[in-house]
């Protein structure tokens, strides 16, 4: 979604090149506009800054691939369960085709990537959700991969870390998707019984069935700044209570204040914070 916006900005800028020393760059899409502060930013600067706006600190949404690069030590990531076959339990028209087209277009295999890796030398099992794939919604493949990853952590006695971003249960799979909430939460209970560390990280946006299952069950719950986190979406709440929601409602800072997360961590500090927590849990 943000990518679309960036593309739009690039196209718009491309139509009327400005008198700028880097005007030529505009034409080839090297610039992006921050959707929060509206500043025009040099793409490379944004990338180097962990995909965070150097001007206002807005954390742009990023892919699972980029997230893994930022968090996991180079060369240590071993992906698991890459090629899970899709299921279409309620035979929703065009669902499988849509998924296949999406896989082709985005080069992403489903809304979560799982694997083993190291964070400053600390071995972990990591799962990273990806909002670019059907809004990070949880269907049977997502639920299964997360459950398998948790079971891997139990088998290998490793800490489990999950980065969450999701619109909730994947409606196109009907009740099977709702059941993934129970399945993943049951797996988290096993992880807990095994005495293993479970760190969840909320990123923008995490709502619905993911908030109401594994995402809220970490021993330690972190969040990126200003991430939308909630059960019901803001629009649904506004329709229910028939009034506008206050500024900052359901944002990370709001959840911190209400006692639902442990710490807000800026993206540039995420890796070292995770490493610090992991180190402190070493026996």
């Amino acid at each position: 979604m943000v990518i679309d916006k960036i593309k739009k900005v690039n196209n718009a800028e491309g139509e009327k090149p400005q008198k700028n020393t880097k005007a030529a760059d505009m034409l080839v899409g090297k610039w992006v506009k921050c959707d929060a502060c509206k500043e025009i930013l040099y793409k490379d600067d944004v990338h180097k800054n962990f995909s965070v706006c150097p001007n206002c600190g807005k954390h742009f949404r990023i892919s699972a691939r980029r997230r893994i690069k930022q968090i996991i030590d180079e060369g240590t990531f071993i992906e698991t369960y890459e090629n899970m076959p899709e299921t279409d339990p309620i035979h929703f028209d065009g669902y499988i085709k849509k998924i296949e087209t999406l896989k082709e277009k985005t080069k992403i295999q489903e809304a979560v990537t799982t694997g083993f890796g190291e964070i400053h030398g600390n071995k972990v099992v990591i799962a990273v959700m990806d909002g670019n794939f059907l809004m990070g919604s949880m269907g049977s493949v997502v639920g299964e991969k997360i459950t398998l990853a948790i079971e891997d952590a139990i088998k290998e006695k490793l800490p489990f870390i999950i980065f969450c971003v999701s619109g909730g249960a994947r409606m196109q799979e009907g009740m099977i998707s709702l059941m993934q909430m129970a399945k993943t939460s049951a797996a988290v209970a096993k992880l807990d019984d095994a005495g293993l560390l479970n760190i969840t990280v909320f990123t923008d946006p995490t709502t619905g069935g993911v908030t109401a299952s594994f995402a809220s069950l970490g021993d330690i719950i972190l969040a990126e700044p200003n991430a939308l986190i909630g059960f019901a979406g803001p629009r649904v709440i506004e329709q229910t209570i028939n009034q506008k929601l206050p500024e900052g409602f359901q944002r990370s800072e709001f959840l911190l204040e209400h006692g639902f997360i442990d710490k807000i961590v800026e993206r540039k500090d995420m890796k070292k914070t995770l490493a610090q927590i992991l180190e402190l849990h070493k026996n």
């Binding site: 299921t87 049977s140 299964e144 799979e173 009907g174 009740m175 993934q180 129970a182 049951a186 649904v236």
Partner: protein
């Protein structure tokens, strides 16, 4: 039953005249005593919780209650549970575990309440915690959808060893109206959505989501007596089987029950 469409069943499941959790509790639980509050924030009246006997066995009962009169519906928030309701349920379920009582839950909700206060008090966390804890409570759990089992709000008290549905109840990931407006971009396609979503007891048994279907009479006014007797028999029979299991086996079977939903080979 075969002639009813999925939408007909949705209408029956939501019928105001349909017996509610309170009615079934009154008719099948002897010596019922209701307990209140989550010990943290308040008492959510959309959930009735307490203990009593079913056919002589002491059980903990948790039921979502929509209310019958307008006043009661308001008090009970139309069966839309707030975080303190899920937390009250969990408190009583942990108490059941301590005193080795089986747990019976009756599910009937249009969904968890999507309000401002619910979000402030952690609706997502409350439901999540119940899912996790219910998966490992060391006592048998039977959950029965008696009317409308909508989304995470229903699931929050519907994780157990056996899941049953009344013949004319529904259990869904969201309402057919919501499904139609989001996926068909047309809220008027609710009937089509209801059919497509597979939300009836028959469909969900075929999909392996629920274990058993409890029969109903076609005439709503005959249902309290008839369904109560069916429920009593079902609960008694099922508890007999579940209480025979060693706790370890009970928990393994419960984990496996959910573990296999949506499982595929790479």
């Amino acid at each position: 039953m075969s002639k009813k469409t999925a939408w007909d069943i949705v209408m029956l499941a939501r019928d105001a005249q349909r017996p509610k959790a309170k009615d079934y509790i009154e008719s099948i639980v002897d010596d019922f005593i209701e307990f209140h509050g989550d010990r943290a924030f308040g008492d959510d009246k959309s959930i009735i919780g307490g203990i009593g006997r079913i056919n002589g066995t002491v059980v903990t009962v948790i039921g979502q209650e929509k209310g019958s009169t307008t006043k009661e519906k308001m008090e009970r928030n139309f069966g839309m549970t707030n975080p303190e309701g899920y937390r009250k349920a969990l408190r009583l379920m942990k108490q059941a575990e301590k005193f080795h009582r089986p747990i019976i839950t009756f599910v009937d909700t249009p969904g968890a309440y999507p309000g401002l206060g619910a979000e402030e008090r952690g609706q997502g966390e409350a439901i999540a915690r119940n899912l996790m804890e219910m998966s490992r409570l060391k006592t048998p759990i039977i959950s029965i959808v008696i009317g409308e089992g909508s989304s995470g709000g229903a699931l929050g008290i519907c994780v157990g060893d056996k899941i049953a549905m009344l013949e004319n109840s529904v259990y869904s990931v969201l309402s057919p109206e919501g499904f139609a407006s989001i996926l068909y971009k047309d809220a008027s396609k609710n009937k089509e959505a209801a059919e497509k979503m597979k939300i009836t007891a028959k469909d969900l048994k075929e999909l392996g989501i629920i274990d058993d279907i409890i029969k109903e009479k076609d005439k709503q006014e005959e249902n309290l007596e008839f369904v109560s007797s069916e429920l009593k028999e079902y609960i008694t029979k099922t508890l007999k089987k579940l209480t025979k299991l060693k706790t370890e086996d009970l928990l393994d079977l419960r984990y496996e029950k959910y573990r296999k939903i949506g499982k595929m080979e790479e």
